[in-house]
Symmetry: C2
């Protein structure tokens, strides 16, 4: 169960030992995580601005620097999501060069996880796995289920029992087997490590993790290309396992190395919910003293208390001169609303965290108003509607007559509001 | 409140009278709907394959044949959604050249309405409206609310009182004013016609309707370009107001006229829910006898009983040799599941209708297995999760131990399933 490839292979972060290509996430010798190492120089004539721009409008335009087996024909148009200028949000928080990288509309399942899953499943097929799976806080579950369905391979997905209903439904609908675990994500993940040893399954974020994680680089590639082959000054990234923020940096470094963008300093800012903020705490209090937490936040997609790449992410943020903050559940809900009201983008709880943290970073003066800053929005608000329960009111219905409408509008605009009523998805009561 | 433009203007479908550019939907003389007429010949040197391909990866690449005022700088990357080959769905229903045009991931609000709204709001701004709005079955409400928020203009949106909770929330979150009407869409729409006369509002599908409707042409442009500048043999389209199916045809005709694609016959197939099928009935029983219906279906985004473009759509379908079918609510739910299980695409109730109708058309032999057929999926399943209530079961949660997992898997694979429990979004009960 391995394949040979001249373009890339597994390499230990610590001891540098190489392992070819096989389903393996940690170095058997020193137990450090494995990463994909490329022969970057061999890509020099091929991974060019021109070649990329001539490619398809999806992540496969960057295929040359992804661990994609020879002969693999990607046919799912994943990624290449919009990077939009955020003038109105910027005005509200004091930022004049603000951008949103919007993976809330990523094909097929509306989160950045679609990127990592498509790379992982290409390898799962190459390795010959007939069942794939993952441990997930929701978005990964959705993506593995959907992409496995399209490929016609079986999926078994493990999640914490208290996952949001929309994320559960959005896994089951694809025909995946969903296994609920009585515990938090860290419990689920530990169980998956044991399952990977016993079952012949391709678990995308366990034994396929080095391949999987490389998919996140495409966020970085896209940001640079969409800024006109230029790196931003700052990137604000939500942190769960700590992988995404590191891979965006890796993408930038590869672009610099190959001369596609000018070398310049980029600061990375991590965003977490206060109820699960081990990486943010490590950034602020010193990365050598990494302390796992027991998650307690409604930002379930960030609720990883013992993140695999947490210590490395904290070190990286500090080394580049960035920072990390965490916000409360109340603040993250306001963050969801603020992004929707200013930019028309409805994000999930994790995106509320990232938006609220961004606002705080500007308020703290850690980001200068004129700097080019990209905020990574990684998931869609329709998956976490419960977070807004009780935040909105619907008024009584009126009759379809102009006179009733006129009177109603006067009432709305006048002192006496029509008697409101709380509304939440799944719970609309009418007077 | 009008502007002059040499590239396009309003023209009456019936009497041919021209009206320049102003907020007006029907001919004051003969009451027929107005459409946008272009000087197509003047576009000949500009609307070329090369020019389009050099444009941005969104609907603005087709700006030359959209009613976009001079000097308008579109900055929202709407559209250019994936067209994916549907091999597994095709295998299940006996189709060997099947494609899904997937607007379920359209930016910003996950439906094809984002296309029409962006064109309408460009004109609303040009006309100087400071409040915009619409009558809506949900997706349009979401899109108007989101795009108005980003532009910083007020939105007042009228909907039937019984709209799905996710669509209500996904309107309110952007800060729009939502007005619930005690009646069905046709009641709401009639009220909006009166409002447009009394208030100085830009109602996208009322007084801005001719501009708005043109946005749907981009679905047709994209299908042709994504097929490699080739027209399909068949297109299956959901029908509510009857506009989309006509505009896709208009786009094809414009491409043929300007020589971007080869002229060939294309058949159009309309899809409706049985509980609201006036256009499908008119196609089958004769378009001259168009009978409005009182909607009664869970496919609320198709629940327009008296569709503005219904008679014209029926005539067009018949003239081109196409057909129309309607499916029950039970069948549409199966359609949602079938598309998800085979292609990993989770669509809303309207998409379930379109999928189920497509299957029936192949079963009836109305579409030959080898013909190139594009199925238009226009909205996202996360907006209509209630439709799947009771369709899925979650089993009890298990402890995070390998022994428990092993036993559980044996149980799942064996005769005795673990005791299941119904699950619906917003309603997950744990044993």
């Amino acid at each position: 169960m391995e394949y040979s490839c001249t373009a890339y292979e597994l390499k230990c972060n610590e001891c540098g030992k190489r392992y070819g290509n096989r389903p393996l996430s940690g170095c058997p010798d020193c137990l450090a995580p494995l990463e994909i190492a490329y022969d970057l120089d061999s890509a020099r004539g091929e991974f060019t601005r021109e070649a990329i721009e001539a490619g398809p409008a999806n992540i496969w335009r960057y295929k040359r620097l992804l661990p994609i087996p020879d002969g693999f024909q990607p046919d799912l148009p994943v990624g290449f999501t919009p990077l939009v200028r955020a003038k109105r949000l910027g005005k509200r928080i004091g930022a004049s060069n603000l951008y949103i990288k919007n993976d809330a509309v990523c094909f097929p399942t509306l989160s950045f996880k679609d990127r990592v899953v498509s790379v992982a499943l290409a390898n799962a097929q190459k390795f010959g796995f007939t069942t794939v799976g993952c441990s997930s806080t929701g978005n990964l579950a959705n993506s593995v289920a959907a992409q496995a369905a399209r490929l016609g391979i079986k999926a078994s997905i493990l999640v914490p029992a208290d996952l949001e209903p929309a994320k559960i439904l959005n896994t089951l609908v694809y025909g995946a087997r969903l296994i609920r675990i009585d515990g938090n994500y860290d419990h689920v993940n530990r169980l998956c490590t044991l399952i990977a040893d016993e079952y012949n399954w391709g678990l995308v974020n366990v034994n396929l993790r080095p391949y999987y994680a490389e998919g996140s680089k495409t966020v970085g590639f896209e940001i640079a290309e969409q800024l006109g082959w230029r790196l931003p000054d700052n990137v604000v990234v939500p942190m769960a396992g700590g992988s995404l923020i590191r891979k965006i940096r890796k993408a930038f470094k590869e672009l610099i190395y190959l001369g596609l963008v000018e070398d310049k300093p980029v600061k990375f800012f991590g965003a977490q919910a206060t109820g699960c903020s081990p990486i943010a705490v490590a950034v602020r209090e010193g990365a050598d003293n990494f302390i796992p937490q027991k998650p307690n936040t409604i930002a379930r997609s960030l609720a990883i208390g013992n993140p695999a790449d947490g210590p490395a992410a904290a070190k990286m943020i500090i080394a580049d001169g960035g920072w990390a903050e965490d916000v409360s559940d109340v603040e993250l809900v306001s963050g969801i609303q603020e992004l929707a009201e200013t930019e028309g983008i409805f994000t999930e709880t994790a995106g509320g965290v990232t938006t609220a943290v961004t606002a705080r970073l500007y308020a703290q003066g850690r980001i200068h108003p004129d700097e080019t800053t990209v905020v990574c929005i990684t998931g869609n608000g329709l998956k976490t509607t419960d977070a807004l329960a009780g935040r909105y009111e619907v008024a009584r219905a009126i009759r379809p007559r102009l006179a009733d409408f006129d009177a109603y509008l006067k009432e709305l605009d006048g002192v006496s509001e029509p008697e409101p009523e709380l509304v939440a998805a799944g719970d609309v009561r009418v007077l």
